[in-house]
């Protein structure tokens, strides 16, 4: 989907560029541009709804600018967002590149970009009853999860069954996911003998609700083209993070899971060394956001030439990150 993003004068990203992979886990201190990367993607989506600007705008040297390039079949097109100030990026320009395909297919690229979504899940919103019980997409806080689950069950029973199966595998204390569309909610049925015990959504743990929302995304037969997730590890036990990574890999590498659909580009942020540990074999999926003074930059962990040597000295990826030798840690006075 998005091949790279280059920033100029956008918030802390004064001069930064990052190549994006199908799956991207962004780590770094607070204020290092992780959320700005996600905001840039969302602004591109928002401006994609409008007609693109015909002529290059006159820009001041200090004008903020975000330049997007794309993967095939749209690698012949460049999109530039220009900002009047930090909060007003309202000009989208498109330009063909000397090489690559799809320079004349902005409508096709636009249609994909418009499906991009960003999530900062909220357990209370997820558990709240929702009406009506049909919805095309998961709300940014997960607030209409009950509707999404009911919709998935109605439109794609096979996908719902896959979601249910994966949920039970991740949370063996539960035996079933029970929908209650009449009340606009759902419940989880506890495992074990005796009378069935239903745990209503508002009594389910926060982490379980977050994972359930991720499962709803991962098992959606027509997921967004780009999914951005902030604080992926929030509320989730470290040992469950492997399962959470699997859920997201289902989005990014659908063929590995038997799905016939386009890969979803995932951009997720975390502060968890435990989650980072799981990417030792795939450092190309890790983006380190760093902040020096007021300026932030991005780097791919796989671009670090001595990474293997550092790991060979002992320490997990999470340990190395926490130690500071990989960068992506807060500055200290």
């Amino acid at each position: 989907m998005i091949a790279s993003v280059a920033f100029r004068n956008f918030k802390a990203l004064r001069s930064a560029r990052i190549d994006l992979a199908p799956f991207n886990l962004v780590i770094g201190p607070n204020g290092s541009g992780k959320t700005s990367l996600i905001q840039a993607v969302l602004r591109l989506r928002t401006l994609s709804r409008l007609p693109a600007a015909d002529a290059p705008a006159e820009t001041e040297p200090e004008t903020a600018e975000i330049v997007f390039r794309f993967n095939p079949p749209h690698d012949g097109l460049e999109a530039t967002l220009t900002c009047r100030d930090e909060d007003r990026c309202d000009l989208l320009q498109l330009a063909p590149l000397p090489a690559g395909e799809g320079a004349d297919d902005w409508p096709g690229l636009r249609a994909r970009l418009l499906t991009s979504r960003s999530y900062l899940l909220d357990a209370r919103a997820i558990a709240r009853p929702v009406y009506p019980v049909t919805s095309d997409e998961l709300a940014t806080d997960g607030g209409n999860l009950a509707a999404r689950l009911a919709g998935l069950h109605a439109r794609s029973p096979e996908s719902f069954a896959g979601l249910r199966e994966e949920m039970i595998r991740l949370f063996p204390e539960y035996a079933d996911l029970v929908l209650d569309p009449a009340r606009g909610t759902f419940a989880l049925r506890l495992s074990g003998g005796g009378d069935p015990v239903l745990v209503p959504a508002d009594e389910v743990s926060q982490g379980t609700l977050y994972v359930l929302a991720l499962l709803a995304l991962a098992h959606d037969p027509a997921p967004p083209a780009i999914v951005c997730l902030e604080e992926l590890d929030r509320g989730i036990h470290p040992r469950l993070l492997r399962g959470v990574r699997d859920v997201l890999y289902r989005l990014s590498y659908p063929a590995d899971y038997g799905h016939v659909r386009a890969p979803v580009q995932v951009i997720a942020t975390t502060h968890s060394p435990h989650l980072l540990d799981l990417f030792r074999d795939h450092p190309e999926e890790i983006v380190i956001a760093d902040k020096h003074g007021r300026a932030a930059t991005f780097a791919r962990l796989s671009d670090r030439p001595d990474l293997e040597a550092l790991l060979a000295e002992g320490g997990t990826l999470g340990d190395l990150w926490y130690s500071g030798i990989l960068g992506g840690v807060p500055e200290e006075s």
Partner: protein
């Protein structure tokens, strides 16, 4: 032992490895065992080394475990060789030697508890990763000798990612895929573990430890 099944605790770096390890241990012992405190887990190599003393102490005093079985990946460190078994030998880059030493230090001064003098241990080292064990007998190019020769030539014959791709069909297996692949391979080896012992001295060391437990095996 009074004929009761041995009570063993397993410690590894992942649920995947532990699932396969349980099958292999049972095959070498030739009898079922009871797993004490299922779900012990370490976060990768240094974590195993760091938590081993606490785990050993906890098992010794708070459980009736007869023994602790530990499995770690060698990654790019020194494989455990025959000369490492010489009395008093310790290779500082061999994880198996390191784990044995740490266990020895952690338990040598513990007083008897729970009706036993001491807890036994067995340690295995998968070179470079447990996925190599799972390919043993299926891929002639995979074995400790090939790994060592490749490292010495400066060209390791495969990477951890390549091993995963060969075992699971993807280098990003989900947990269920990985457990299924690992346990299927372990069951194949369980029918006759001799090939695994021959090709992987890091497994042979584990098997030798298990067979040396007179108090459990007699």
């Amino acid at each position: 032992m009074n004929g009761r099944p041995p009570r063993l605790a397993l410690l590894g770096e992942s649920l995947v490895d532990e699932s396969a390890l349980a099958i292999l241990v049972e095959a070498v012992l030739g009898r079922p065992f009871v797993q004490v405190q299922p779900g012990l887990r370490a976060r990768g190599w240094p974590s195993v080394l760091q938590i081993l003393p606490a785990v050993a102490r906890h098992l010794h005093f708070n459980t009736d475990a007869d023994a602790l079985v530990v499995l770690v990946d060698a990654d790019d460190t020194e494989p455990h060789g025959e000369r490492h078994e010489a009395p008093g030998y310790f290779h500082p880059r061999c994880r198996l030697c390191q784990l044995r030493a740490v266990f020895r230090r952690a338990t040598r001064n513990l007083p008897p508890a729970r009706g036993r003098e001491r807890m036994l241990r067995a340690v295995g080292l998968a070179v470079p990763a447990a996925e190599a064990w799972y390919l043993c007998g299926l891929d002639e190019a995979v074995g400790e000798a090939a790994w060592i020769a490749g490292r010495e030539a400066g060209r390791p014959p495969y990477t951890r990612r390549e091993l995963k791709a060969r075992v699971y069909g993807t280098d990003r297996p989900n947990l269920a895929q990985a457990v299924a692949g690992a346990t299927a391979a372990a069951r194949r080896h369980a029918r006759d573990p001799r090939r695994l012992e021959y090709d992987f001295p890091g497994f042979a060391a584990l098997a030798a430890d298990l067979r040396s437990w007179d108090i459990i095996n007699r």
